[in-house]
């Protein structure tokens, strides 16, 4: 135990005094501050749009215009998810349910918002990837984690200090664990200033106002980020135990990172589109118009059944895409973070269901207040258990792989 502590301390001392970790820390501060400033500006604009449309809107006005929008979530500054997409103005027109299911996105209410969104540089979020915190951790910091850990074992071998270290009575698992723990703690320490600054910004910012539950969710996202980064740190360590030269380890780990983070999630979604195709919306509209039978009420019920089947195929494709893309920890991380931030797919599905139920009841003559409660905290945490399990499993598998590889590693 004392030896382990000594080794971890040595790792910490070596790492935290090296220019790489200091540079990493500075970079994290720049990245996180950039992200939070840009994203809170974006959130402010979307909230302004929402307030312009919805503030002071009475139930009678709502029933007259049938035009509304979903309030942007404050935690969309951390994980944008589908919040912007779900925040677009909806019109329940006279064409529903004959035309597209549930509601129409756009129309008169959308014009000003679309102009405004474009004007304020929102287009640039489509041209350049949205730099929210989840993207930064998911793509950039994961690359940093592997760059910091790829030379842990093979780098020591190259400088001949590994054989020197092993000449002492140190067990290989102990050394590996010390390097893993020491390096990871150093990474977390270098991230701390950035995280703290971000939290301070969120506390003092007037544009983003977080309530008690939001802070719990934010802590959940930060926890997930730590588990996610651990995967890539362990991946770097694992490849370091597979090779004898840092240059080889680097290129190998970059290859795995690129495939795992960039390739697998998107390929998974595309495979799902091929395996569970959805009927094109235009053809679906034609099918609906062809079904005209009985009274307006009967016809409406038939159309709603068709809508439900269509929505089920869309959800089925999404579900398969999610499951396939979960082979990548990046996908699991994004899904979990967006669920915790109330900007995820489950929240979007929940919103869609609420709008649909409200509208159908209204048309059946039972008018109720339109309330759009988001998923509760326990519901969100329930949704993310699969992703959390997967992330932890990846950590265990990668560390086990590193352990086995290091036991057979030639340290000379």
């Amino acid at each position: 135990m004392r030896l382990l502590r000594t080794l971890i301390q040595r790792e910490l001392l070596e790492d935290l005094t090296s220019s790489r970790y200091i540079l990493t820390s500075v970079l994290c501060v720049i990245l996180c501050l950039t992200s939070i400033i840009l994203m809170s500006g974006d959130y402010e604009r979307r909230l302004e749009r929402y307030n312009f449309r919805m503030s002071g809107l009475t139930q009678d006005e709502l029933l007259r215009t049938l035009c509304f929008a979903k309030r942007p979530q404050p935690l969309s500054v951390i994980s944008r998810g589908v919040d912007e997409v779900m925040g677009r103005p909806l019109n329940i027109t006279g064409w529903q349910p004959e035309e597209e299911p549930i509601a129409h996105v756009g129309g008169r209410s959308a014009e000003g918002q679309h102009l405004y969104g474009s004007a304020q540089g929102q287009h640039l979020f489509e041209l350049f990837t949205t730099p929210d915190f989840v993207y930064i951790v998911g793509m950039i910091l994961s690359a940093f984690a592997i760059f910091l850990s790829f030379g842990t074992i093979c780098g020591e071998k190259q400088t001949n200090t590994l054989s020197l270290l092993m000449s002492y009575s140190i067990r290989r698992p102990t050394l590996l664990f010390a390097k893993w723990m020491g390096g990871y703690i150093s990474l977390l320490i270098s991230l701390c200033p950035a995280m703290l600054l971000m939290l301070v910004f969120l506390t003092v910012s007037s544009s983003v106002s977080l309530q008690g539950e939001d802070w719990m969710r934010l802590l959940g996202i930060i926890g997930f980020s730590f588990v996610y980064l651990l995967i890539f740190f362990t991946l770097g360590l694992f490849t370091s135990t597979l090779t004898h030269r840092p240059a080889t380890a680097l290129i190998l780990v970059l290859f795995i990172w690129a495939l795992w983070v960039l390739g697998v999630p998107r390929i998974g979604c595309s495979v799902a589109k091929g395996l569970r195709p959805i009927q094109p919306n235009h053809t679906f509209g034609l099918h609906k118009r062809a079904v005209r039978q009985g009274s307006v009420e009967d016809y409406r019920e038939i159309l709603w059944k068709m809508d439900d089947q269509y929505i089920a195929t869309v959800d089925g494709q999404m579900e398969l895409g999610r499951d396939l893309s979960r082979f990548s920890p990046f996908a699991s991380y994004v899904y979990a973070s967006s669920t915790l931030a109330k900007t995820g797919i489950s929240d979007a599905q929940n919103f869609r269901q609420q709008v649909s139920d409200w509208d159908r009841e209204r048309r059946r003559g039972r008018v109720t207040q339109l309330t759009l409660p988001p998923l509760r905290l326990e519901q969100s945490f329930g949704e993310i258990t699969t992703d959390l399990t997967l992330l932890l499993l990846w950590n265990v598998l990668l560390f086990a792989g590193a352990h086995v590889a290091f036991l057979r590693y030639d340290v000379r």
């Binding site: 302004e48 997409v85 474009s118 390739g263």
Partner: protein, 454 residues
């Protein structure tokens, strides 16, 4: 001497595992990304049905119509604005034109995970691969002790730097060529994608632009390798610079541009539109009242002809108001947006990644310029259509055209598409900027290398 050193470098790189990893990554990513986007392209065409392809679409007897354009074929290489790119605008005679419509029920995974296209690969993966090829160009040699041996020979430092750059760059290009060939094959063979001559020309320039952009990162890698003493430090420094150039600068420049060249806030424009609408509506309502008073005062008691005449007063006002007065506000607003976007583009010239993104999206007609061209084309179309309807009413007195679209009065809808040569010539400064970056980084590497000990 340079050729010998370059040959040595190429041989060294080709026998290195990074060459094969680069080849594998490029092959897997580029071909699968292109195939996926080509399949999506085909799906989009089916999804939109008749609402795709340049022109005008009006379901029989409706008072609303759509003006549409084709999906840019080069979207399969550079998605640009992605789903935000307007492919159609929904118009009614008595109201404005609406952009930004989309499906409420759709697969949301595309919104949560960004598109992986050719441009994304070059920008993100390509630049990182450039660093892995060059991060130990000088610092690695210094650490291994081979730099001293090399400099013991009569090799000029500039020649050494150039050989490192060209050697690693050419080996990367060699590893990329099969993937590029595969991409061309996918584009040629895929049943849903049909490239014309101009599209192939644009693709060629896109590939050239990508290679030029990658060259900038190669030279940057060599430069930083001269500055630092250890490859690990080089890598961390390169990552820091990469983050600044690829993430921070492109995203911050619109914010700076918005500060330097502010445009009216949303409320101001909306307020302007609302007050103008009211101002113009009042005399029209008065005219309607006058008409009603002159015909008995009770709308329900009017004959069908008189009812139509009554409504025509409002509809005719809408015809001219939405096509003329309101579009002037939009045009002024779009022009200001244009100017702001141009300023953001100029500011982001600091970042080669941003230059590549803007240029590529304009070459493939999926960028901001294309979006603005479509909107202005829609405004011009509405004006001409409103003018045609006005002329028809003046000539024949037939006011039914205020309710029903008459295809004979519809002008041609054309979205101006600059040719590849026009795009290149307009963006020549950006091309020159990329070449300048390579030169500047080389000068920096040269100065640092001369001053550093080996």
């Amino acid at each position: 001497m340079l050729l010998t050193l370059v040959r040595k470098e190429i041989l060294g790189q080709i026998l290195n595992v990074r060459f094969y990893v680069s080849f594998a990554l490029a092959f897997l990513f580029l071909i699968s990304a292109t195939y996926i986007l080509a399949t999506d392209y085909g799906w989009m065409q089916k999804e939109f049905g008749p609402l795709i392809g340049e022109g005008f679409y009006n379901p029989q007897g409706w008072d609303r119509f759509w003006v549409c354009r084709e999906i840019p074929p080069l979207r399969v290489l550079s998605t640009g604005l992605g789903d935000s790119l307007s492919l159609r605008s929904h118009n009614t005679i008595s109201e404005g034109c609406y952009f930004g419509e989309s499906q409420f029920v759709h697969n949301l995974l595309g919104d949560i995970l960004s598109h992986l296209d050719f441009l994304f690969f070059i920008n993100i993966v390509g630049s990182l691969l450039a660093f892995t090829f060059t991060y130990d160009a000088i610092s690695g040699e210094r650490q291994r002790g081979t730099l001293r041996q090399m400099m013991a020979n009569p090799v000029r430092r500039a020649v050494l730097l150039l050989s490192k750059f060209f050697g690693s760059y050419l080996s990367f290009v060699i590893s990329l060529l099969p993937a590029l060939a595969g991409v061309v094959l996918v584009l040629y063979l895929h049943p849903d994608v049909e490239f014309g001559a101009s599209d192939w020309k644009a693709s060629f320039w896109l590939f050239l632009l990508a290679l030029l952009n990658i060259g900038v990162f190669f030279m940057l890698g060599v430069f930083v390798s001269c500055v630092t003493r250890e490859p690990k430090t080089t890598l961390t420094a390169l990552m820091a610079i990469w983050v600044l150039l690829v993430l921070v600068v492109p995203n911050f420049s619109p914010l700076v541009a918005a500060g330097l060249h502010p445009i009216p806030a949303f409320h101001q424009v909306q307020g302007q539109i609302d007050s103008l609408s009211q101002e113009h509506a009042e005399p029209v309502h008065r005219e309607q009242h006058k008409f009603l008073d002159a015909h008995g005062g009770d709308y329900e008691a009017l004959s069908e002809e008189d009812k139509m005449e009554y409504q025509a007063i409002w509809r005719d006002h809408c015809r001219t108001f939405y096509a003329e007065e309101l579009t002037k506000i939009w045009e002024a607003f779009f022009n200001k947006m244009d100017a702001q976007a141009k300023l953001a583009q100029h500011l982001s010239l600091i970042s080669p990644s941003a230059i590549l993104t803007y240029l590529a999206s304009d070459l493939s007609h999926t960028g901001i310029e294309s979006e603005h061209a479509f909107r202005f084309a829609t405004i011009r179309f509405r004006r001409r259509y409103a003018a045609n309807v006005g002329e028809h009413i003046q000539r024949t007195g037939d006011k039914t055209k205020l309710w029903v679209i008459d295809n004979k009065l519809v002008p041609a809808f054309v979205v101006p598409r600059p040719t590849v040569s026009e795009v290149i010539s307009t963006h020549l400064p950006q091309f020159i900027a990329l070449v300048l970056y390579i030169f500047l980084f080389f000068c920096g590497a040269q100065i640092t290398f001369i001053r550093s000990s080996i």
